[in-house]
Symmetry: C2
Subunit: 408 residues, 2 copies
Amino acid sequence: MKKKLKLGVFGFGCVGQGLYHVLHETQGIKAEIKKVCVKTKNKARPVPDSFFTFDKNEILNDLDIDIVVELIDDANAAFEILKASLEKGKAVVTANKKMLAEHLEEIFNLQKKHGKPVLYEGSVCGSIPIIRNLEEYYDNDLIQSIEGIFNGSTNFILTKVFEENKNYTEALKQAQELGFAESDPSLDVKGYDPKFKLVIAIAHTFGVFVKPEDVINIGIDRISDLDLKFARENGYNIKLVARAFKSGDKIFGFVAPQFIDPTNALASVRNEYNAVQVQGAFAEKQVFIGKGAGSYPTGSAVLSDISALTYQYSYEYKKLEQAHGLTFSNELITEAFVSFDEGTPITGNDFEELQSGYASQGKQYMVGKVTLEKLLHWSKIEGVGIILAPKAAFIPLSNIQTRSLSVA
Amino acid sequence: MKKKLKLGVFGFGCVGQGLYHVLHETQGIKAEIKKVCVKTKNKARPVPDSFFTFDKNEILNDLDIDIVVELIDDANAAFEILKASLEKGKAVVTANKKMLAEHLEEIFNLQKKHGKPVLYEGSVCGSIPIIRNLEEYYDNDLIQSIEGIFNGSTNFILTKVFEENKNYTEALKQAQELGFAESDPSLDVKGYDPKFKLVIAIAHTFGVFVKPEDVINIGIDRISDLDLKFARENGYNIKLVARAFKSGDKIFGFVAPQFIDPTNALASVRNEYNAVQVQGAFAEKQVFIGKGAGSYPTGSAVLSDISALTYQYSYEYKKLEQAHGLTFSNELITEAFVSFDEGTPITGNDFEELQSGYASQGKQYMVGKVTLEKLLHWSKIEGVGIILAPKAAFIPLSNIQTRSLSVA
């Protein structure tokens, strides 16, 4: 009954090759790759030359091609391909989280305009089917929060730090040698990559579009040996946590490292694995764990989207209709451990409530309740490290009648 | 665009009441309860009397009712309701795992015959959307195995045993007092309940129908204080694990307690939580964790099925078409710790490979490789305790050319 779909693929890197092999090893799916558009000529590839083209129009203008699978790195070029494909009446499958995060509202509108779906399960936490579950399974569940480990490279680094007693620099180097971190790892370790995924997840969880530049990301690159010592002595892990939650008519969301105690479901999520924890009013706590990246896991998510297109699946974005007046906000107080060099302009008065503070070897430490705004500001100052407290409270500023500025 | 669906509900126990409240608190779903059929008259209920009927035909013959939601305990009566509902052209939502496990192939055929869907997400691991994911997301993934904690009551008991240093009897009593175990807990503690769920999962994972009576279930009711001591001394947990996997053209599946080491993802699944771990060729390891039972979590899964029916969803059972010649088998060797009273007719020769054995205080212990067939036989002998080894191997008998009967 289902027609055999023809695919035009852009990019033949790690995920593209994974898709190629997955598609050739599985039997159930009625789809085949017709053409792959790549940039670099004369490169040895594990597939016959006849598959390849260097001209994007050979795919875009091919009436026989039903689905464009966009798997290139460049977010701007990817968005151009997406737009051109929809205009040509082709469905699009992509895993480009940066492009999606930056253009999600526009992509939502383009789908309506052209009547063709864009699916992107592979963009958020690789193999974990979180978008589909948020769309289909939790559509009637009032979701309170979504949080988790959205980046495999940093989780690999942090796992090595704790399990093999390495410092941050050594662990990063090992991750790079094993291919789990890019040679320029800043998108990962500064928390941009998980932020892009969080932006996409927020749209499907709460029905709110937010721009990546409005979401705060604090990375793991400032974690010091003293932070690690503190974590080890107290039995904590450190994880880079992406989280979003609803409070009243506001949606809050940000990415930051956090001390994690052993009873937290995220504590046991190791190496390149990702985890997503959804707290719903009815389903209560749900955790999804799976490989967040890699050729096969992401290829599998992309394939699942292609499979869904064989039965005309499209995201309904139902929560957009339900999100009456919800807006994104950063007006939040949380609890953090802040470390900085002596002389950095940070004082106890900057905290809403200072819980403890001490100085050692030219470094100062302060722990207490503090606004996200301050954390963002401090995260841009050289030498400042920020880690959320193990069971940090999250208090919307609007919940505080008179802001207490007590200093303990 | 969607019509408002009318529901006829059978049963108003824990899940029925959960559904009622969930349906009244959520906004997104276009469905309302028209009638609830209950058995007991004159019972105080938190809902107006006008909702209730005591005559099943008031629901079955009501042309206005689109969906029958079957939430009663009695598996035979539930199956009669299911059949009558399909015959009357109504879709069915149920969470009755015993009924489903016993009649799944017939229910598959009845759906085809009457052209009406039966959905049952709530039947397997409560709030965890495992059936839907197996149907939709993993349809093109070659799944190698599915395993996990499929029963909340026994997991609650085992958690209390280890975290609060109780013995089995004390922990069972506490679970009963808190409502996590039935006054007759044998369906849970002897492993029947997780077996029913496993039977349903096997159909959606591998496309194979198997009768519950052909699947071996070994419970946790024979766990001795010495087993607990051994686990504690070695840093193990004990979990009641349901598992099924493919080897060649055979599907194996059974329920048995197992020593679990701390690096196993199941180790951190506590109290009434369930977990499902799927190993696929492409997606690799995926873990789903959520509440396995309870009024709201199961009500939420039932609601999700109702919601799916608003857009004409039905299970496609795609893997049935892909399961060329796969058959269920118990011809397997695994590794177990077997304890028994002196005088029980178990000897080292019964093991394919005896790894160790000792006697203490009238009890004998043997550890080694042994067939499932023997374990099943022994599990029926009073006083025999069986726990799988922490990283037990699973070796199909057909893989063994000459069965070695070496005794260490």
